[in-house]
Amino acid sequence: MARSLVKRAGRSLISVALTFLGLTCVTFFIGRVIPIDPVLAIVGDKASRETYMRVRTEIGLDQPIPVQYWRYLKKVLQGDFGNSVITSHPVLHDLWQVFPATLELSLLALIIGVIVGVPMGVVAATHQGRWQDQVIRFFSLLGYSMPVFWLGLVGLLLFYARLGWVEGPGRLDVSFDDLVTPITGIITIDSLLAGEHEVFWNAFWHLVLPASILGYLSLAYIARMTRSFMLEQLRQEYVLATLAKGLSPWRVVWVHALGNIWVQVVTVTALTFGSLLEGAVLTETVFAWPGLGLYMKNSLFNADLNAVLGGTMLVGVVYIGLNMLSDLIYPLVDPRARDA
């Protein structure tokens, strides 16, 4: 038993290491062939030839690409991801600043997605072809196909500008800036820890709209997937058998059938969370949300390769972490996974 555990852990470690190596390798080489000059990003268009060449040498671009990669890899292994060109800070410091903002947004969006999406999927499946199903499918399709950029702007126009129900772009009002010392970087949590309730509510009202919009997108996906998983289950003979035995339809659907799709739902949820964390660029742009998506976008457009590489590694870590987390959750939600 212990030996198999060690073996499994070893295999995981090797897989993680290889994934990272692949990630750095692909991102590094893509970064070196894009038609944006990283030296220009630092020195600007008007720099003299001497300044340009000096900076080019300073950042090692005068070396062959494999040598540059090897140097980068050595530094990364020592925990040094280099400095970002656009912020002047170490990339790790930047990621520590921006990731919590995205995490905060994505977590609330995911909670909305799961709490609303799963029951919606179940209801749609149990009412297949009826009006409930049609409404839910239409609602999901809308969320799935509507550009998040447009949805964000319309949401802002309606709920912020016209109705005044929520706060506008940004994480906080200017008057609340810098009142709370960051501990986790998640303002809602930090403000509660500091006992700053006003800051908490202000942060919450800033958060609720972008999170709801992202939540809507994720619930659309989760609901559609849950519906199709449930339809598969409801066609199984055990459903007919349990109903024939006299169990209430509610219990059959919400306990037995739903119980059998949790593994798939967890997988879908983990993937949704991953894409929320790395793919909220447009939402972050509309809502001026200083998160990972905006950081990566700016870094890419400025050929800030250290930042792009650091961000990519972080996204890789997130996906690997979510995979591992899913593996841990499977046995908890499905006894069959325990035995496997």
Partner: protein
């Protein structure tokens, strides 16, 4: 499960995402705080010896005092900043600046000639992007300590190159002449960086504001200096928020969560006209929007073809339609408002004349050409208009939209056929633009500098000489005449289709006044802002 329960569940599920929206949001920024919403992701440093990005220069204009200035009260008059007065030797080579007495840094320490000496030397010694502004005077890492020296309450600066004194004095109003407190910078020095690492995110200044924080891609916060030499600014805090999306900027303004917004597009400005709480104002800016024609591409080497192409742009049509309010036609390389600038606009859309010129040049049926242009507004619209009008004379323009930085990289490598871009001046003197549009006496690939004429392979040793003569001319009248001749030559013969000069459009709450951007970012003052 009953139908009612099912329906309740369904309704509940749908309502959860919106369940939190049950409050009325507060509005309006505090009265002693001014909030700007703008795109400010170009800032990469706030060290005045290094910063050279537009937003960075604007912020630092307000944080640091400079040796000389053009002040908000009269943007055309050169006055002393940290310097109380100055003299220039007869040969125009020695500049002596007398430092104001009783000036203090925000730390409480007095501003001395030694701080000025340190600040100027530091720019050259660090050799960052902006250093060329001072090294062109003949200052180098090895000579600057001998050429820029403090003595008592004066600083003596000697130049070894021939330049008009007005040009040198104008340079002393630019970002590189910001005065940094030597003691604080050196106390934070690491590995001989002259405090560069620390000053990227902190300030050591005697200016109107101090830097409280710069959060990249988020905000810059400034705090008023009550002891500023021209009096305490009315606003205790200035917050510049990074709001990348113009539509979001508009909403912030309408809800009074921002006092000034800076990047609205015409479709957002139009509906604001009916909002009585908001006002939109236009201020002349100094960016020249143009197309660079690479003469290395055979058809573009022919002067008649270039002449024809200049007649195939609908300048007036564009500024009267989709560019309305944002641009004016300006076909000279100097923006109006600059010393020596002329309103010289000899070209207008004339397809028949252009066709005749093309036929004379041997391109009766036109030719195909690629045009690289940034993939954002207004470039996309301008390039489409140009494509359409040039097509009328048989010139088949294929637009290659790309990231701005990719266009610049290609342009610097002379890999373009046509590049559509803009150029902004580095300081408030005509030489800054003349030195790039009318300078190329070394057309080799290894040329020391890469001015715009070089990038388009326009080899002009004679015009370069004329440009250098104008840079050295001591007589202002003569100098203006020389720039007039240069501008006409570049417009008529050069490989540039000079099109527009831009306007700065600022939308503000009617309660916030006093922010009147000048022609360059060096003239955008926050200290004059007031709120009612």
């Amino acid at each position: 499960m009953s139908d009612i329960t099912r329906r309740l569940m369904l309704a509940g599920s749908a309502a959860v995402p919106f369940a939190g929206w049950t409050r009325i949001a507060d509005a309006a920024t505090p009265k002693d705080v001014v909030v700007f919403a703008k795109q400010m992701d170009d800032i990469i440093t706030l060290d005045p010896g290094e910063a050279y990005e537009l937003t960075g220069i604007e912020i630092l204009t307000n944080v640091y005092d400079r040796l000389l200035r053009y002040e908000a009260e009269d943007l055309t008059k050169l006055v002393g900043g940290v310097a109380e007065s100055w003299t220039v030797s007869e040969d125009g080579k020695i500049f002596t600046f007398k430092i104001r007495p009783n000036l203090k840094f925000q730390s409480g320490a007095p501003v001395t000639a030694e701080d000025v000496e340190f600040s100027l030397q530091r720019v050259v010694l660090m050799d960052k992007t902006s250093a060329f502004l001072l090294t062109q005077l003949g200052w180098s890492k090895t000579t600057v300590k001998d050429l820029v020296k403090a003595s008592g309450n004066t600083v003596v600066a000697k130049i070894t190159e021939d330049f008009a004194p007005s040009l040198v004095l104008n340079l002393m109003t630019s970002i590189v002449a910001s005065v940094v407190e030597k003691k604080v910078a050196m106390a934070n020095e690491k590995n001989g960086d002259l405090g560069n690492g620390w000053l990227k995110t902190n300030s050591a200044t005697s200016g109107a504001f101090k830097l409280v924080s710069w959060k990249a891609n988020e905000s810059v916060t400034l705090e008023a200096n009550p002891g500023f030499r021209m009096g305490a600014p009315a606003m205790k805090r200035v917050i510049v928020r990074h709001v990348p999306e113009p539509a979001s900027q508009r909403l912030l303004l309408e809800k009074a969560d921002a006092d000034f917004v800076r990047d609205l597009t015409p479709d957002q400005i139009k509906p604001l006209a009916s909002n009585k709480d908001v006002k939109v104002e236009s201020f002349k800016a100094a960016n020249t929007f143009y197309m660079g024609l690479n003469t290395g591409y055979e058809p573009l080497a022919n002067p008649k073809v270039r002449q024809a192409m200049k007649m195939l742009v609908d300048y007036e049509g564009m500024v009267k339609s989709f560019l309305a309010g944002r641009f004016i036609v300006q076909q000279s390389f100097l923006p109006l408002g600059f010393f020596g600038a002329i309103a010289y606009n000899p070209f207008k859309l004339d397809v028949e004349k252009a066709k005749a010129l093309l036929a004379e040049a041997g391109f009766k049926d036109g030719f195909a050409v690629k045009m690289s242009a940034p993939n954002v507004s207004p470039w996309t619209e301008i390039s489409q208009s140009v494509q359409q009008t040039m097509g009328q004379a048989g010139i088949k323009v294929s637009i290659e939209p790309m990231e701005l930085k990719a266009v610049i990289a290609q342009y610097r490598g002379r890999g373009h056929q046509i590049a559509m871009l803009s150029w902004g001046p580095d300081y408030f003197d005509p030489h800054t633009n003349a030195d790039t549009f009318a300078h190329n006496d070394d057309n080799s690939d290894t040329a020391k500098s890469k001015p715009l004429a070089w990038r388009n392979k326009w080899f002009i040793p004679e015009i370069t000489k004329e440009m250098l003569v104008a840079a050295k001319e001591l007589d202002a009248k003569k100098r203006a005449q020389q720039y007039e001749v240069l501008q006409k030559k570049v417009t008529d013969e050069g490989p540039f289709i000079l099109m527009f000069q831009n306007n700065n459009q600022v939308a503000r709450r009617v309660t916030a006044t006093g922010f009147n951007p000048g022609i360059t970012e060096d003239l955008n003052f926050y200290r004059t802002i007031k709120k009612s």
